[in-house]
């Protein structure tokens, strides 16, 4: 198989496709990942805050049934494999973006799959906060909202950024599955050429680009985390 990989024909073909299709695919993957992550954060962040603040001993205790329902919904959505979820949310995609195929349609299942994940990540970030700091804020007369907005979230920024990086790379991985439902991006190139048409070299190229994207996001995320953390200042 390796002998077949680098024949002059496959290399030439791969290069042609690399020039003609890859720039657009790269952009699509990037765009879908970033937009889906942002939407997932917009929905998931408040839920993650509620998961911590709404507890019995939290700063804003919510009724137990509400907390349980929230927990169950999040766990349910997290248990459905992304491949199945993509198909299950077809009706919702059609409702929101008017279609079930293509790059934009992919944003819907990605967001639905990612926001419960983001909620759990936010939850774990906020739980790292020393509870004594919250008590100190209470002793100064902070209201529950002030504690959330001025203490919990700002104090957890480094951890939140670090977890956002995990979210981005995971969503990038999900987006690569989109080829199956006719979404765009590097993932569909890898599947369409590599799997359906046995053009392994093209698949490898697509995977390499995906790896580079993950590296890029991870490096940026780590840098930003360290830069934001005032505990690391010397």
């Amino acid at each position: 198989m390796l002998n077949d990989l680098f024949t002059s024909e496959t290399v030439r073909e791969a290069w042609e496709i690399f020039i003609s299709e890859f720039p657009m695919a790269l952009w699509e993957t990037f765009y879908v990942t970033v937009v889906s992550t942002l939407l997932a954060i917009i929905i998931g962040m408040p839920l993650g805050v509620l998961l911590v603040a709404g507890e019995k001993n939290g700063v804003l205790p919510l009724p137990a049934w509400l907390m349980q329902t929230l927990g169950v919904i999040i766990n349910l959505l997290r248990s459905v494999p992304f491949l199945i979820l993509m198909i299950l949310v077809f009706p919702i995609s059609r409702l929101i973006v008017g279609t079930t195929v293509g790059t934009v349609a992919l944003i819907v299942p990605l967001t639905i799959a990612a926001f419960p994940f983001v909620a759990r990540l936010v939850e774990s970030s906020l739980r790292e906060l020393n509870p004594n700091i919250i008590e100190a804020a209470q002793s100064m007369g902070a209201s529950p909202m002030q504690i959330i907005v001025k203490v919990m979230i700002p104090e957890c920024v480094p951890s939140l950024i670090s977890n956002a990086t995990i979210a981005v790379t995971t969503i990038l991985g999900y987006s690569a599955m989109s080829g199956i439902i006719g979404g765009g991006g590097l993932g569909s190139i890898a599947i369409n050429y590599g799997y359906y048409r046995y053009k392994t070299l093209i698949m490898i190229l697509a995977v390499i680009l995906l790896i580079l994207l993950v590296q890029l996001f991870q490096t940026l995320g780590t840098k930003l985390t360290v830069k934001c953390d005032k505990r690391l200042k010397k």
Binding site: A136, Q138, S139, G141, A142, E155, K230
Partner: protein, 338 residues
């Protein structure tokens, strides 16, 4: 004035309930530096948290200047808490904010304008002796400096009462001393009532004028620091004043020998050559096992452990001889000599 009346706090756990405080009553006057001392688990932290209602008491009342804290709504309570601020063992500064930002924080919560809050915070940095640390982050400071910032933060809203929850327990002795000095200064200059929760005798000795000893959720002794510490009555008080039995003394009494603790109050009694005089007057020659003097609440106290030879009879004679002097108290030590 802070009045704590019949305060009881019960925690309900999975395996039954636990009474952290049992019927505690205390009165703390304006301008006091009031120490609440006890071993860990005595209920000190719960008690201090009941004063600003971070913990709601199960029974009983806390009145601050006549206002029943328990009857206030959450919103009213939040504004009262600006008058009764707190510092902690772990400092509990916001690690992602500068020192200036930390001191401005309570003012921000109270809705004070930014420029005004900044001006006040800079003044307070001066008060606590760290004028150059405005833009530093807490992680860049030593423990003592962090506590100073925490004190500045606690003073930002011009409180009437400062609660100190083991505020010096994480600090070395020298830093402890400087923080206590700062607290005393604040008490004197600003007239803020200070309540100090601690397990360290030295802290109470150094700055408190009143003390309550808490043991197992109840106040076992209470009063003027000098009185309580020179003549501790309860077992818990003795354990605190004479830790490790007798300041760590290891001694096996000889046959016919009794161990006597002699406490001298005030510099006059401490300076008289009483023991030598006793040897001359009644021919009892005690063996001095340990002797120390310390200053508590501005008064000098002597504490001496004597081995009195000659059995019960000479012990009785020695006690009679010593106790006839004013300001001298004796007590036979039996169990706590190892």
């Amino acid at each position: 004035m802070i009045e704590i009346k019949n305060l009881t706090k019960t925690f309900k756990g999975a395996d039954g309930s636990f009474e952290a405080l049992k019927n505690v009553s205390l009165t703390i006057n304006d301008g006091d530096i009031y120490g609440i001392i006890g071993m860990s688990g005595a209920g000190k932290s719960t008690l201090v948290r009941c004063i600003n209602m971070l913990e709601r008491p199960t029974e009983g009342k806390v009145l601050i200047d006549g206002v029943d804290m328990g009857a206030l709504s959450e919103k009213e309570l939040r504004s009262v808490r600006r008058n009764v601020t707190m510092i902690f063992q772990g400092f509990n500064l916001l690690m992602q904010r500068t020192c200036l930002g930390n001191i401005m924080f309570p003012l921000e919560l109270a809705g004070v304008k930014r420029a005004e809050a900044k001006k006040r915070a800079l003044e307070l940095l001066d008060t606590v002796g760290l004028p150059d640390k405005a833009e530093a982050y807490p992680a860049q400071l030593s423990g003592g400096q962090q506590q100073r910032i925490a004190i500045a933060r606690a003073l930002a809203t011009d409180p009437k009462v400062l609660l100190c929850d083991e505020a010096t327990s994480a600090l070395d002795p020298k830093t402890t001393h400087s923080i206590l000095e700062l607290i005393r200064d604040i008490n004197r200059k600003l007239g803020i009532t200070v309540i100090i929760i601690t397990h360290q005798m030295s802290v109470v000795e150094e700055i408190c004028n009143h003390v309550a000893i808490l043991d197992n959720g109840t106040v076992v002794e209470e009063g003027d620091v000098a009185t309580v510490f020179s003549t501790p009555k309860s077992k818990a008080a003795k354990r605190l004043v004479f830790p490790d039995g007798n300041d760590g003394l290891v001694y096996t009494p000889k046959e016919d020998e009794h161990i006597l603790r002699v406490v001298f109050h005030g510099s006059e009694a401490a300076s008289a050559p009483l023991i030598t005089q006793m040897a001359l007057d009644i021919s009892i020659t005690p063996n001095i096992l340990s002797a120390s003097t310390r200053t508590i609440g501005g008064k000098v106290f002597g504490n001496m452990l004597l081995g009195i030879p000659g059995g019960e009879e000479s012990l009785r004679l020695a006690v009679d001889y010593l106790e006839r002097v004013d300001d001298v108290i004796t007590e036979e030590v039996t169990s706590d000599v190892k």
